[in-house]
Amino acid sequence: MGWEIVDRFLFAPLAPILGVILFWSIQLLLIESMKHLLRKIWSKHQSLCRFTNLVGLFFQAFSHAIGYTITKCGVSHFYISVDESKVEPKRQAKGAVEWITKVFLFIGPFFVPALLIFILLLLGCNAAFKVPAGSFYTFSDGLIVFGNSLSYFSQKFIELLVNLDFLNPFHVFFLLFLIFIGLGIRPLYIGREEKRKINIIYDLQNIKNLLSERPVYIISVFAFFYILYYICLFFNLNWYINLMLFFGWLSIISIVAIIIAHLIILLVKSTDQICPFWNLLPYVTLFISYGLSRLVFYSLSFQYSISIVIMLISTFIVTLFLKRVKTNKLKTKASIKKLKDLEVEEIGNRRGSSKR
């Protein structure tokens, strides 16, 4: 009984918080992976990298401006370019207000872009958001409720994506918007040139400083979560879990958007290795395979999903084939290892004949 009370009052509220942190960490890792990919195509596709940077900086500045607006500091100056963004308050923030604006600056860019997709989904696909009827009582219960809701949402969201009709302009705009969000969830560099310090460590360092420099505030935030949980517990309300689910949904939207952006960047990177003219073929395959699949499977109820799957598979196969056959790199018919073995054998034969 004693352990149950400790679990209910001390550990249970932590379950959804840990869930949110877990998904946010996955998001952070994926962002880092995308930055790594972008760096690889940096020299050949500076315009694309500049574009992603601009989008990232825009969301960063936007989050910062929201922070100043919510805290009633006001925005006196809003500047955004490809290289940098600047948001200045009308009134200098101090104490807790300053801390809140910093929270928006450092954590906002991870959630604000996904919020835009969330609003679109709320308008167009609100069936994806299943919320529990009441509160939860234990740590494991919290994890299960949180996990179930998120898994249901993920399933519905993926269903929505694989059933997108690319002959419908609104669906195409939605996908483009999702890619736009995925590409710009975090800027690649700040300043004129690429700076490698703007990475996961830099982000985590900023957040760590934010938490450690004013421990009172972070304790206050936790206290707020606990109080909200206790209120929900006593009145059997779902507010607390809904709040945490909201952040979970945003993380999942971001993760999916980043994965789609990954696919785009991977395609660009792969086509760079294919020699000119042939490198257009994967892009052509992308459109033609989809169009043909739609024609072939016109009468089927699952024509959208099968067409997307065929489009992805055929583009992947064509790209892989071209990479093996039509690469920019110098290739010999025999592998280097085989050539080396042949060379050693030849030298050995020569030595043998000279000795004789």
Binding site: Q46, S47, R50, L54, S81, V82, D83, L167, N168, P169
Partner: protein, 304 residues
């Protein structure tokens, strides 16, 4: 005609430039809107589920004459786009071009007997006009040529009427440069050289007016209007009189600035004064040496 034929004696080519393909995006957006709306309209009329319901409603309301409301939607949305673009670019001619395009399309449809296949004709017509617009704008872009030499900048442009401007670096007093969002992404920008005569400067005018009217029924009518306007000088030139959307922006800007700096008269004059000072010093030293020599000679003569 080759560029070499344009060059003067001792003049050599530094760079030959053309505007970046995206530098005329503001103009292209006028045509792109037609393409985009054509695609959406085509999808709405032919494939969308929304339209089926709307069409049955129209049939209940208009009977067999469904074409009229369809044409109305086609006209209204296109003109709404025209109004927005006209307001954004402050050019009402865009709105009138759209009216012309729609009127021509409607006439062709009725005269050509295409009205029974309006669901294909209307979107295809818009897409074709949009594509034609994109090609014409790109043709116009390609007509521009900027030649930067060690003496001057030659600007050439124009589709039918060919225009040309030659600007010597010593006549440039000021350089205005700008880069939009697309320019920042694709590294192109516009450089406007302003001359002593003010070539390269335009005017932004804002006007405010207020009127008071009286009714005819009253014995004493009153009518008056008062207002005012403000003008601000701003760097502005035609695309063929400025370095419009040039790529790579920073490199060209640096080149132009260094060429202008090299032709500025003040540093040259300063150099001349320094040289003259050096000459004067040498002459003074020589004079002093000659005087000393003369003194020594006089001393020798006195001693002998």
């Amino acid at each position: 005609m080759g560029i070499e034929e344009d060059l003067l004696k001792d003049e050599h080519l530094e760079k030959e430039l053309k505007p970046h393909p995206f530098s005329f995006f503001s103009l292209q957006s006028i045509a792109l809107f037609l393409i985009l709306w054509g695609i959406i309209f085509g999808w709405l009329v032919n494939f969308s589920g929304y339209w089926t319901g709307f069409e049955s409603f129209l049939k209940d309301f208009f009977g067999s004459f469904v074409l009229l409301p369809v044409l109305l939607v086609w006209w209204v949305v296109t003109l709404a786009g025209g109004v927005v673009l006209s307001l954004v670019f402050i050019r009402w001619r865009i709105f009138f071009i759209y009216i012309f395009v729609l009127a021509v399309g409607t006439i062709i449809m009725f005269i050509g007997g295409w009205s029974n296949v309006y669901n294909v004709f209307l979107p295809v017509y818009l897409i074709c006009i949009g594509l034609l617009g994109v090609f014409i704008i790109d043709w116009y872009r390609r007509s521009h040529k900027y030649i930067i030499t060690n003496f001057r900048v030659i600007f050439k442009g124009g589709l039918i009427r060919k225009r040309e401007r030659t600007l010597r670096y010593d006549k440039i007093t000021d350089i205005e440069s700008s880069q939009g969002i697309l320019g920042q992404i694709f590294d192109f920008g516009t450089i406007i050289p302003i001359t002593q005569s003010g070539f390269g400067l335009g005017k932004d005018t804002s006007f405010a007016a207020m009127g008071v009217g009286g009714t005819a029924k009253k014995r004493f009518g009153l009518f008056g209007i008062f207002g005012g306007s403000k003008e601000v000088q701003t760097p502005r030139a035609r695309t063929y009189y400025e370095l419009h959307g040039i790529y790579p922006y920073r490199e060209v800007k640096k080149l132009i600035e260094s060429l202008v700096q090299g032709n500025v008269i003040i540093p040259y004059q300063k150099e001349q004064v320094e040289y003259q000072k050096e000459q004067l010093d040498i002459q003074k030293q020589m004079k002093a040496l000659l005087e000393k020599q003369l003194e020594l000679k006089n001393q020798d003569e006195e001693e002998s």
